[in-house]
C-alpha cells in the first residue's frame, strides 16, 4: 500500500467503520510537503484507544478499525514527517498525516478512483474532498451532488460516469496530468 491515495482510502474506511456520516478529507500539497487530513463524525475513541490505534493497530470485535494507522505512520515517518490523531469518544476523529517530499515520499496515485468508490460504495454517507496544489484547488462534495440528483442515487450509471469525468477534469487542472501519474 504505497500510494498517498490509498492512505486516504484507508483513513476514510476507518471513519466508515466508526459509523461516521460525514467525512472530510483534505490533501494539501506544498513545495516541500504533502499533508492529508481526514476528519469524521464517527464514534471516536478514548485516549487509550487512540494510542493503541496509532501504535499497534486498534482492533474491535466487530472489525479491524485502525489497523492501517501504524502502517501510514511508518510511511510518513520514513520521509521525516509524521502522523497525529485527535479523537473524542462520541464526537469523532481527526487524523493528520504529513509527508516530506523526498525520495521516500509515496506517489499520489489514483485519487480520483478513491473519491469515486467512496462516494458510490458508501452512498449512505457523505464525503467532502478538498485537494490543493500550488494555489490550485478542487472540491468534491457528495451532498451537493445528491441534492441535484435526488431521488436518483449517486451510484446510478449516469451519475457515476459524470463523477469520473468531473474528477478527471479537476485533477488535470490541478496537477496538469492524469491522476494516476501524479507524483508527490
Amino acid at each position: 500500500m504505497n500510494e498517498l491515495s490509498l492512505f486516504v482510502l484507508e483513513l476514510a474506511e476507518n471513519s466508515a467503520e466508526a459509523g461516521a456520516l460525514l467525512v472530510k478529507a483534505e490533501v494539501r500539497s506544498a513545495p516541500e510537503s504533502v499533508e492529508i487530513t481526514v476528519t469524521d463524525d464517527g464514534e471516536g475513541m478514548t485516549a487509550e484507544q487512540s494510542r493503541d490505534a496509532v501504535n499497534t493497530g486498534y482492533t474491535t470485535k466487530s472489525g479491524r478499525r485502525g489497523r492501517g494507522l501504524p502502517l501510514i505512520k511508518a510511511a510518513a515517518e520514513k520521509t521525516g514527517g509524521g502522523l497525529s490523531l485527535s479523537s473524542r469518544a462520541g464526537k469523532g476523529t481527526k487524523v493528520r498525516v504529513r509527508f516530506i517530499k523526498n525520495e521516500y515520499c509515496p506517489p499520489m496515485g489514483d485519487i480520483n478512483s478513491v473519491i469515486r468508490i467512496l462516494a458510490i460504495c458508501h452512498s449512505n454517507m457523505d464525503f467532502r474532498f478538498e485537494i490543493e496544489q500550488s494555489g490550485k484547488r478542487m472540491t468534491f462534495d457528495t451532498r451537493v451532488i445528491k441534492e441535484r440528483i435526488a431521488p436518483a442515487k449517486i451510484s446510478s450509471g449516469g451519475v457515476s460516469s459524470w463523477i469520473r469525468e468531473y474528477l478527471n477534469e479537476q485533477t488535470e487542472f490541478i496537477f496538469g496530468g492524469a491522476a494516476n501519474e501524479i507524483t508527490c
Binding site: 500500500m1 490509498l6 482510502l9 484507508e10 474506511e13 466508515a16 467503520e17 466487530s62 472489525g63 479491524r64 489497523r67 492501517g68 502502517l71 489514483d110 478512483s113 478513491v114 469515486r116 468508490i117 458510490i120 460504495c121 458508501h122 451537493v144 451532488i145 441535484r148 440528483i149 435526488a150 431521488p151 436518483a152 451510484s155 446510478s156 450509471g157 449516469g158 451519475v159 457515476s160 460516469s161 459524470w162 469525468e165 468531473y166 477534469e169
Partner: protein
C-alpha cells in the same frame, strides 16, 4: 467542463429508469472487502472494475458496497455476490478482469463462476 447543471439532466433520465426498477426489485448486492488487507491487495481496482462494467452495460439493479475484513486476508481482494433467493457466493483473489467475468457470467447469465470461488481447486 463538466457542470453541475448536467446532473439535473441525468436526474431526469434516471427518473424514467427508476420507475422501471420499481417493477423489478431484484437487487443484486456486490460487497468488496475494503479493510487494510483488501486495500493493500488491490480492492480499489476491483471495485472500479465492477462499477465501470455495470455502468458500461447499463445495469442498474446492482449495488456495490464496501465490507470489512472477514478474516481471509490472504485471499483478498474478496467480493461477495448475493443474488436474491440464492446463496451468497464468495469470490477470492479478485482482479479487475475477474470482476468483469463475474458480472457477465454470474450477474447477467446467472451462472456462478466456480473457479473463482473460495475453496475452488486451484
Amino acid at each position: 467542463m463538466k457542470s453541475l447543471a448536467e446532473l439535473q439532466a441525468i436526474r431526469e433520465k434516471t427518473r424514467l429508469q427508476l420507475n422501471l426498477r420499481h417493477e423489478s426489485p431484484d437487487n443484486v448486492s456486490v460487497k468488496v472487502g475494503l479493510a487494510t488487507c483488501g486495500i493493500a491487495a488491490g480492492a480499489r481496482e476491483v471495485i472500479c472494475a465492477f462499477v465501470d462494467e455495470l455502468e458500461k452495460r447499463g445495469i442498474e439493479n446492482v449495488t456495490v458496497t464496501a465490507m470489512g475484513c472477514i478474516d481471509k486476508c490472504d485471499k483478498e481482494p474478496i467480493a461477495v455476490v448475493e443474488v436474491p433467493g440464492e446463496e451468497k457466493v464468495t469470490y477470492v483473489n479478485m482482479t479487475p478482469e475477474k470482476a468483469v467475468r463475474v458480472i457477465e457470467e454470474h450477474i447477467v447469465n446467472k451462472k456462478v463462476v466456480a473457479e473463482y470461488t473460495d475453496g475452488a481447486a486451484v
